[in-house]
């Protein structure tokens, strides 16, 4: 009885079953394959936009790098490394101080070197400082000239404290001088990282550094820039 009712219903709805099935399949495919294809479409479009953007950055980077003369750049780097050494600047600072004092017949006494960065973990590129304390004995004018010339000498030094006691034409001056140094960056970043040329202010500073008098006898070593690997210290 039941079976014959089902058979009768099937016979009744058989003509609509075919089109209904097609409709259901189309709807299911729209929700699965269609969605997948639309997703891929947007994904590919985003990828194209991303690669285009990268290409723009690379083009700009290439234009900048090709416009720079390697020779000039290396010379400028040499000057800059003399101003801010890439290794401990104590020796360079001492050489400069001794040279300036000798030229002015000034006597250096009680020289002390105080490392100001003991213990602290420093990141590459972060500035490190060494303090030099000493007494300078001699004429007032040569002492002032020493102070003036110190500003125009490499490595760059900052006079943090000057205590001068003057009697007649001679003076005894206690100096505290900070000399800065910093290791050069260890990596040059990714190939598609943008680069910028030196701004006019940076160029002005660099010109200022070119005028600095380097210490005689010792010369800071300019390390070669990393090549090939993005991080030369990463294996």
């Amino acid at each position: 009885m039941r079976r014959s009712s089902f058979f009768r219903d099937y016979q009744l709805y058989k003509p609509v079953a075919g089109p209904a099935l097609v409709l259901v399949i189309v709807l299911i495919l729209s929700l699965t394959l269609g969605r997948f294809l639309v997703g891929r479409l947007f994904e590919t479009r985003e990828k194209i936009a991303e690669v285009k953007k990268q290409n723009e950055v690379l083009n700009a980077k290439l234009a900048i790098l090709e416009s720079l003369g390697t020779g000039t750049l290396s010379q400028e780097l040499e000057v800059a490394v003399q101003a801010i050494p890439s290794s401990d600047s104590t020796l360079f600072a001492l050489a400069t101080i001794r040279q300036l004092a000798n030229e002015r017949n000034l006597v250096i006494n009680n020289l002390r070197v105080v490392a100001t960065d003991i213990g602290g973990e420093k990141r590459p590129g972060q500035i490190r400082k060494v303090e030099l304390r000493f007494d300078l004995q001699g004429g007032i004018i040569p002492t002032i000239s020493f102070l003036d010339e110190l500003r125009n000498s490499a490595p760059l030094m900052k006079v943090t404290k000057v205590r001068s006691t003057i009697s007649g034409a001679s003076s005894l001056t206690n100096f505290s001088i900070l000399s800065s140094w910093s290791p050069l960056p260890e990596s040059i970043g990714k190939v598609d990282d943008p680069v910028q040329t030196l701004s006019s202010e940076e160029q002005r500073l660099l010109t200022g550094m070119t005028g600095l008098r380097p210490p005689q006898g010792v010369e800071p070593v300019v390390p070669a820039p990393p090549q090939g690997r993005e991080n030369p210290f990463a294996f």
Partner: protein, 169 residues
């Protein structure tokens, strides 16, 4: 009991037939639209993929050229790093210049006893033989236009000399 003696043709389509017709048309329309959509998407996807391949080939060629200039890039990076650090050092050195300038401007007869230069400014102690030299010294300091000058002490010694201490920022 009523008996319908009309033929099938005269009775018109049954509900099932109407439903079948509607469903057939709807599914046909859906199928056609779906096929058009799929073909269009596949076509666009193909074009997009070709565009992507072309952009990627440009990208790899540019990357290669940029890689060949790595040394220049490294030198530029080093240079920018040094200049950035030097900027701080240049900005800090103004105090020494002022000390040198003041010392050279001290009027004749006056004697500098002590100069203490620190981060914020400096302290200068000067001995002058008379009040006129003292006034001249004050005028020199005034002309420099310092933002803040504090008179720390003004004393007269037994010899009649003036001993003045100024804190200049």
């Amino acid at each position: 009991m009523a008996i319908n003696l009309l033929g099938k043709e005269a009775r018109g389509p049954s509900k099932i037939e109407v439903a079948r017709n509607v469903l057939t048309r709807t599914s046909a329309i859906f199928l056609v639209f779906y096929m058009i959509l799929v073909v269009s998407i596949v076509g666009i996807l193909f074009l997009f993929n070709r565009g992507l391949q072309s952009e990627e080939s440009v990208n790899s060629s540019l990357s290669e050229r940029v890689n060949s200039l790595k040394e220049t890039e490294g030198t530029l990076l080093f240079l920018k790093n040094r200049v950035k650090l030097a900027r701080e050092a240049f900005a800090q050195s103004s105090n020494d210049e002022i000390v040198g300038r003041i010392v050279s401007l001290v009027p004749a007869g006056a004697e500098i006893m002590e100069i203490v230069s620190e981060d914020k400014g400096f302290l200068i102690t000067v001995r002058t033989p008379d009040s006129q030299t003292l006034v001249s010294f004050f005028e020199v300091i005034k002309e420099q236009g310092f933002p803040r000058v504090v008179l720390v002490s003004l004393n007269q010694t037994r010899d009649g000399d003036y001993l003045v201490s100024l804190e200049i920022e």
